[in-house]
C-alpha cells in the first residue's frame, strides 16, 4: 500500500481513475489502524462499505484538490452512488470516521463537505448538514473515551438505519481486508463476536456464489444440504473426467498428427455453438448430471459417424452399446463433410 500523492498525479492521468481509487482506498485503509489504537472498536461504529470508503476519500480532500480532480472524482463517486441506495446514514458515518481519523480539524472537514456535496447529486444536502455537527461533536470525546461514547454514537446511528445496514453489511463486509461491521441491536459488541460475525458473512456470501454456480442449488435452504449438492457435483465432475480420460486413452493411438486440420474445424464448431445435447450420454454416466451438458454446450454435429466408430475402438466402454443408439439423433453432418475433405 503506497501512500500516493493524489494531487500531483490526478490532473495528469484521467484515464487511470480506477487505479487511483484503488490506491486511495488503500491509503485510507492504511490510516485507521495507526491513529486509533483499538482499530476494531473504532471501525465498529461505522458500517463502512466500499462505496462509503469512496465517499470518505472525497469528502476530506476537497481543499487540496484542484477542480478537474474534484470533477473527475465526482463522476467516479456518482458511479458508485447508485449501487447503495440508502446512503444518508452512511454519509454521516463517513464524516464521523473521516473527522476522527484524519485528525484534522473537524470543523474544516464539515465546512468543506457542504461545498463538495453540492456537486454530487445523489446525496441530499440537508441530511449531511444535520448529521455533521452531532457527529463532529461526538468524535472529539470519542477518542478520549472510546468505550462509552462510541456506543452512544452507535446506538444513535443504529436506530436510524438498522435494516439498511443489515442488508449492506453482508455485501460489503467481505470486500475489504479490514472488516467494518455494525453491531446490531441486542447482539454482543465485543471484538471477537464482531470478527466472527464478519467472517460468517463472508462465508455466507461465498456460499451464495457457489449456489449460483452449482445447478439446482437455488431452491435448497440450509448450509448442509447445499454443501451436499456441491460435493455431489464435484464428485460427478471428477467421475466424468475419469471416464473421458479413459475414452481419450483408447482413442489416443489414433491421434492425427496433422494438428492444423484438426483445429480449424474444431475452432469453427466451437464458435458456432451448434451442438445438440446427448441425453442418453448423461444418463449412462451419472444419473442426473444432465445439467452439466446443458451448460457445456453440445456435441459437434458429426457425432453420427463418431459414435459408430466409438463402438469399435472403445472396447472398454460399458456404454458402447448404448452410445450407438445415439447415432441417429443428429442433424446436419456439415462438419463431417468438411473433415472428409481436409483429411
Amino acid at each position: 500500500m503506497e501512500p500516493m500523492s493524489l494531487t500531483g498525479n490526478r490532473p495528469d492521468e484521467p484515464p487511470f481513475e480506477s487505479l487511483m481509487f484503488n490506491e486511495e482506498i488503500q491509503r485510507l485503509i492504511a490510516l485507521p489502524p495507526a491513529p486509533v489504537g483499538n482499530a476494531s472498536s473504532f471501525t465498529a461504529i461505522l458500517e463502512l462499505g466500499p462505496t462509503q470508503a469512496m465517499e470518505l476519500l472525497h469528502w476530506p480532500e476537497p481543499s487540496e484538490s484542484s477542480n478537474p480532480y474534484v470533477n473527475s472524482v465526482d463522476d467516479g463517486a456518482v458511479l458508485f452512488a447508485p449501487t447503495s441506495s440508502a446512503n444518508t446514514g452512511y454519509g454521516a458515518n463517513c464524516l464521523a470516521f473521516s473527522a476522527g481519523e484524519n485528525g484534522s480539524s473537524p470543523g474544516a472537514s464539515s465546512a468543506s463537505s457542504p461545498k463538495v456535496k453540492k456537486e454530487i447529486v445523489p446525496y441530499s444536502a440537508s441530511d449531511w448538514s444535520t448529521w455533521t455537527h452531532p457527529a463532529v461533536s461526538d468524535t472529539a470525546p470519542e477518542s478520549k473515551v472510546p468505550g462509552s461514547t462510541k456506543r452512544k454514537v452507535r446506538d444513535q446511528l443504529d436506530k436510524g438505519s438498522e435494516k439498511k445496514k443489515k442488508n449492506e453489511s453482508s455485501q460489503d463486509a467481505e470486500a475489504l481486508p479490514y472488516v467494518h461491521v455494525r453491531a446490531r441491536r441486542g447482539q454482543a459488541t465485543d471484538s471477537h463476536s464482531l470478527a466472527e460475525r464478519a467472517r460468517r458473512e463472508k462465508i455466507n456470501a461465498r456460499m451464495k456464489l457457489l449456489q449460483e454456480l452449482v445447478p439446482g442449488c437455488n431452491m435448497i435452504t440450509g448450509t448442509a444440504l447445499v454443501l451436499d449438492e456441491i460435493i455431489n457435483h464435484v464428485q460427478s465432475l471428477q467421475r466424468q473426467v475419469e471416464l473421458l480420460s479413459m475414452k481419450l486413452a483408447a482413442v489416443n493411438p489414433q491421434i492425427d498428427f496433422n494438428l492444423d486440420s484438426i483445429f480449424t474445424p474444431e475452432n469453427a464448431s466451437l464458435s458456432d455453438g451448434n451442438f445438440p445435447v446427448p441425453m442418453t450420454w448423461s444418463d449412462i454416466q451419472i444419473g442426473g448430471s444432465m445439467e452439466i451438458y446443458q451448460q457445456q454446450g453440445h456435441f459437434p454435429s458429426f457425432q453420427h459417424s463418431v459414435w459408430v466408430k466409438e463402438e469399435g475402438s472403445s472396447f472398454v466402454m460399458p456404454e458402447a452399446s448404448h452410445i450407438t443408439s445415439i447415432s441417429s439423433a443428429n442433424g446436419v453432418p456439415l462438419d463431417s463433410r468438411q473433415l472428409k475433405m481436409e483429411m
Binding site: 481509487f21 488503500q26 485503509i29 466500499p50 462505496t51 449501487t83 447503495s84 460489503d172 470486500a175 454482543a188 471477537h192 466472527e196 460475525r197 460468517r200 463472508k202 462465508i203 461465498r206 456464489l209 457457489l210 452449482v214 448450509t223 448442509a224 454443501l227 456441491i230 460435493i231 457435483h233 464435484v234 471428477q238 473426467v241 475419469e242 473421458l244 480420460s245 479413459m246 475414452k247 481419450l248 483408447a250 489416443n252 489414433q254 491421434i255 492425427d256 498428427f257 486440420s261 484438426i262 474445424p265 466451437l270 452439466i292 451448460q295 457445456q296 456435441f299 459437434p300 458429426f302 457425432q303 459417424s305 463418431v306 459408430v308 466408430k309 466409438e310 472398454v316 463431417s336 483429411m343
Partner: protein, 182 residues
C-alpha cells in the same frame, strides 16, 4: 482478498471473473490445444503402457496438469496439482494409510460465545461436509472455509471446461479417424 479493494460489485465481479475465465471459448480452445500437444508427447514417451487403467490414469493426469497450467494463477488447487507429481504421489500413499486410522475428531477448541456462533456451522453435519469438500478439491486440506469455498467455485468451473473440451476432442479425433478409415 487484498487485491479487491473496491468491493462495491464484489460478488458480481467474483462470479463474472470465474465465469469469464472458464466459460470463454478462447480459454477452452487454449486448453484443448495444449491438451492435444501434451497427449501426443505422452503417447510418444510411454508406448508400452498397454493396460487400460494405467493409460486412462495417465491421460487424466495429463489433462489435470494442463488444466492447472491454464489456470496459471492464484488458485490453490492448480498449484497443488502442479506440485504433486511423482514424488508426492508416493507420500500420498503413505499418508492415506495414516489418515484412515485417524478418526474424525469433533473439535471444540473455543467455547461458544453467545451471540457469535449462532449459525449452524458448529454442527458436526456442516463440519463433516466441509471436510469432505476439502478432500475433494485438491490442495485445500487445511484451508480456511472461506478460501475453500472460493477454491471450490473455481475448481467446479474449471472442471466443467475440462469436460467440455475433452468431449469435443474425443469427438474430433475419433471422428477424423472414422472418416479416414470408414
Amino acid at each position: 482478498m487484498k487485491t479487491r479493494k473496491i468491493g462495491a460489485d464484489a460478488q458480481s465481479s467474483d462470479i463474472s471473473r470465474t465465469e469469464v475465465r472458464w466459460r470463454s471459448e478462447s480459454s477452452q480452445r487454449i486448453y484443448s490445444v495444449k491438451l492435444v500437444e501434451a497427449l501426443q508427447r505422452a503417447i510418444q514417451n510411454s508406448t508400452p503402457a498397454l493396460s487400460i487403467s494405467a493409460g486412462s490414469r495417465a491421460v487424466r493426469d495429463v489433462a489435470d496438469r494442463v488444466l492447472a497450467m491454464t489456470a496459471k494463477g492464484r488458485t490453490r488447487w492448480s498449484r497443488a496439482i502442479l506440485a504433486s507429481r511423482r514424488r508426492l504421489s508416493i507420500l500420498r500413499r503413505h499418508r492415506k494409510v495414516k489418515k484412515s486410522r485417524a478418526s474424525r475428531i469433533n473439535r471444540r477448541s473455543k467455547p461458544l460465545s453467545a451471540a457469535a456462533e449462532d449459525r449452524t456451522r458448529r454442527l458436526p453435519a456442516v463440519e463433516k461436509r466441509i471436510k469432505v469438500l476439502s478432500q475433494l478439491v485438491p490442495g485445500c486440506k487445511g484451508a480456511p472455509v472461506t478460501d475453500l469455498l472460493e477454491e471450490a467455485g473455481d475448481y467446479i468451473a474449471a472442471l466443467e471446461m475440462q469436460i467440455r473440451s475433452m468431449i469435443t476432442l474425443t469427438e474430433i479425433i475419433s471422428g477424423s479417424n472414422g472418416e479416414r478409415t470408414g
